[in-house]
């Protein structure tokens, strides 16, 4: 009854094309943002903010980046973690070598470097597609990690290959506590998510989707293939790069190249599968699921061993976690190949008709 668009008339094109055409949606999103900015930092404790919500936001941003490439432009990539690594290490280097630039320009430069790497490794996409391309992006994953470990310049010649991210200071305000890091991350993610949402309803976004649905048909109707595909790689890697920089500066603090292995790429891929391929909301839902699930599993196993009196060894728990994780992915694909975002959409459609569905 509450979720109803009856009586909301649209009399201009601008009204018809707004991001959230239904008033209830607008109110809900505003409330959510206010809650995230004003209430969460107050009620959340160190653990929640530092170890759960901040990484969730960062991974959501990375998933968003991958979703632009895979979900919207249809180019399957397994190199997400490499783009994150480029963003993280380049942002570190820019802040180290050009300290007068400030944090935000450094992050942007880090993202741009990732975009450049993305374009270079996106070049094969002009020739090859599908699984051939997916395997080709693995080249990026392995090459970038090798380069980061091999050339000391990236890690400022530290003996262990580990870098310690500098403190974030904006206009003299240090972002050092978990609350402040959370706020900084949230601001970046909110702005970039909004930008992505808008991009996808623009000409560029529509071109991406045309390429995804059938690239030959898209080029026949005059969409420049090279520009569109490379742009998709550039934008996607930019998002991943910024996510990587946040990952290093706001979450981990000290980073080594090994943090960005193929495993991370797969995790982010799972986020968009479970959340919904080709959906901005899906990136967030998927990231929330994948970030929170291991913690839930840990709690559950602790609870099980407590109540049942069965002692489950740590190795068994981590193996069980793998099995359940893999099983869930298969389950999700079978039950709802379009992910959590699709479930949410179905719920909304049901709500609109409720309580008279006929």
């Amino acid at each position: 009854m509450l979720y109803r668009e009856a009586g909301q008339f649209k009399s201009t094109y601008a009204q018809d094309q707004q991001i959230f055409p239904i008033r209830q949606d607008r109110i809900a999103v505003t409330l959510l943002l206010v809650f995230a900015f004003a209430v969460v930092p107050v009620i959340g404790d160190q653990y929640w903010l530092g170890a759960l919500i901040t990484p969730f936001l960062i991974f959501a941003l990375a998933a968003l980046g991958l979703n632009i490439l895979t979900g919207y432009a249809g180019q399957l990539s397994l190199g997400t973690a490499a783009f994150m690594a480029v963003g993280a290490f380049m942002a570190y280097n820019v802040m180290l070598r050009l300290p007068w630039l400030g944090v935000i320009p450094s992050f942007i430069i880090g993202g741009l470097c990732a975009a450049l790497v993305g374009v270079v490794f996106g070049l094969p996409s002009l020739r090859i597609k599908g699984f051939y391309l997916a395997v080709a992006t693995l080249a990026c994953q392995f090459f970038v990690l090798w380069a980061l470990q091999r050339f000391g310049w990236f890690t400022n010649y530290s003996a262990s290959g580990v870098i310690t991210a500098q403190q974030i200071v904006i206009l003299g305000v240090p972002f050092d506590t978990p609350e402040r890091k959370y706020l900084f991350t949230l601001a970046v993610v909110a702005v970039m998510a909004l930008a992505a949402k808008n991009l996808m309803r623009s000409e560029t976004g529509r071109a991406f989707m045309a390429v995804r649905d059938m690239d030959v048909a898209a080029s026949v109707i005059g969409i420049p293939m090279m520009k569109t595909k490379l742009l998709a790689f550039a934008i996607s890697s930019f998002y991943c790069g910024v996510a990587g920089a946040l990952h290093a500066f706001c979450y981990l603090g000290t980073v080594e190249p090994e943090a960005y292995t193929l495993d991370l790429s797969f995790r982010i891929l799972f986020m968009i599968i479970i959340g919904g391929v080709g959906s901005i909301l899906g990136s967030f839902l998927g990231a929330a699921f994948i970030t929170l699930f291991p913690i839930f599993l840990n709690v559950a196993s602790g609870w099980a061993s407590h109540t049942l009196g069965v002692e489950i060894s740590h190795a068994a728990v981590s193996n069980l976690e793998l099995i359940i994780f893999g099983g869930l992915i298969i389950f999700f694909l079978i039950v709802e190949p379009n992910g959590l975002a699709r479930l949410w959409q179905i719920t909304k459609e049901k709500l609109r008709l409720w309580p008279f569905p006929h």
């Binding site: 094969p124 395997v135 090798w146």
Partner: protein
């Protein structure tokens, strides 16, 4: 012969033989891709699972052949179960969905094998020593391992058998029909599900062979799952649909990788084997986007 030439030959032959071992893993990918269009990322996990099961049975003092048979049975059952539980509900889904399902399967297999058999590494002996062939090293001072020759012969045999199977038998023809066009194959009365079950069973068998060979070389441990990553560039070069392509691709990758590691690696500081094969494969793809022996696809609007 001058020492440089001998060294070069040794590196080249070593590389070619290593390439054949990559090809063994790549074969499993090709089989499943050919018959069902599924890019089975779980092949690496299947190799690991097969090798670990076999070694654990051996360590429980089982007879060698009995252990082999039981492992084979387990792999076939695994293949059948995969078809039933994972693939059948996903029929008619886009290939990317199937690919992701096999990533899920990878996790399940990795967890399952370590949960059942533990995660400590095992050694494996097949009775063929990993020693240089004597007369070669005495006559020309070239060191080539007996075991590598054995693995290469095994791979060659496997490819020959599979090629005959695909070309000459009734099931093989059905498999090729399914690979060409699912719907047309169904229309002429080929039972799709049986075919898939057979393919997954055969892929399990190939995984077992690959697992044994790699297990002897590197020990049976979790790192065996990464062998799949080594096989992917082989697939790119050979083409996803070609069994001989897997061998040719393996030879190319193995040889260039070893040569590059020895002659080009020191120039950039070593460790290039993690990505060099991929770059070689990429260069090949720029010339032939479907690999050397892959099928050309013509897009129609």
């Amino acid at each position: 012969m001058p020492i440089e030439v001998i060294f070069f030959i040794e590196v080249l032959v070593g590389g070619l033989l290593a390439g054949v071992m990559y090809a063994l893993v790549a074969l499993g990918f090709v089989l499943i891709y050919k018959a069902s269009g599924v890019f089975n990322f779980a092949q690496g996990a299947m190799v690991f699972f097969a090798a670990l099961t076999f070694v654990s049975l051996l360590e429980m003092q089982w007879n060698f052949w009995l252990a082999l048979l039981v492992t084979l049975a387990v792999m076939v059952v695994l293949g059948l179960a995969t078809e039933r539980v994972v693939l059948r509900p996903l029929i008619n889904q886009p290939p990317i969905t199937l690919f992701m399902a096999t990533i899920g399967l990878t996790f399940v297999l990795e967890g399952l094998s370590q949960l059942v058999w533990g995660s400590q590494p095992h050694g494996l002996e097949l009775g063929i020593p990993d020693l240089p062939i004597e007369w070669l090293s005495q006559k020309w001072n070239i060191n080539i391992s007996q075991f590598d020759i054995f693995a290469a012969a095994l791979a060659g045999l496997l490819v020959a058998v599979l090629a005959v199977f695909f070309q000459k038998t009734r099931i093989g023809r059905a498999l090729r029909a399914v690979a060409d066009d699912h719907q047309a194959a169904l229309a002429v009365g080929i039972p799709l599900q049986h075919i898939w079950a057979i393919v997954w069973g055969v892929a399990g068998f190939v995984a077992l062979v690959a697992g044994l060979v790699w297990g002897v070389r590197n020990g049976v441990q979790f790192a065996l799952t990464f062998v799949a990553l080594k096989a992917l560039p082989v697939l790119l070069i050979g083409g996803f649909e070609s069994i001989p392509g897997a061998i040719i691709g393996g030879l190319i990758i193995g040889a260039t990788e070893k040569l590059a590691e020895v002659y080009f690696g020191p120039m950039v500081g070593g460790g290039i084997e993690s990505w060099f094969a991929y770059v070689v494969a990429l260069l090949f793809l720029l010339v032939r986007p479907e690999g050397l022996f892959g099928e050309k696809h013509i897009d129609r609007v």
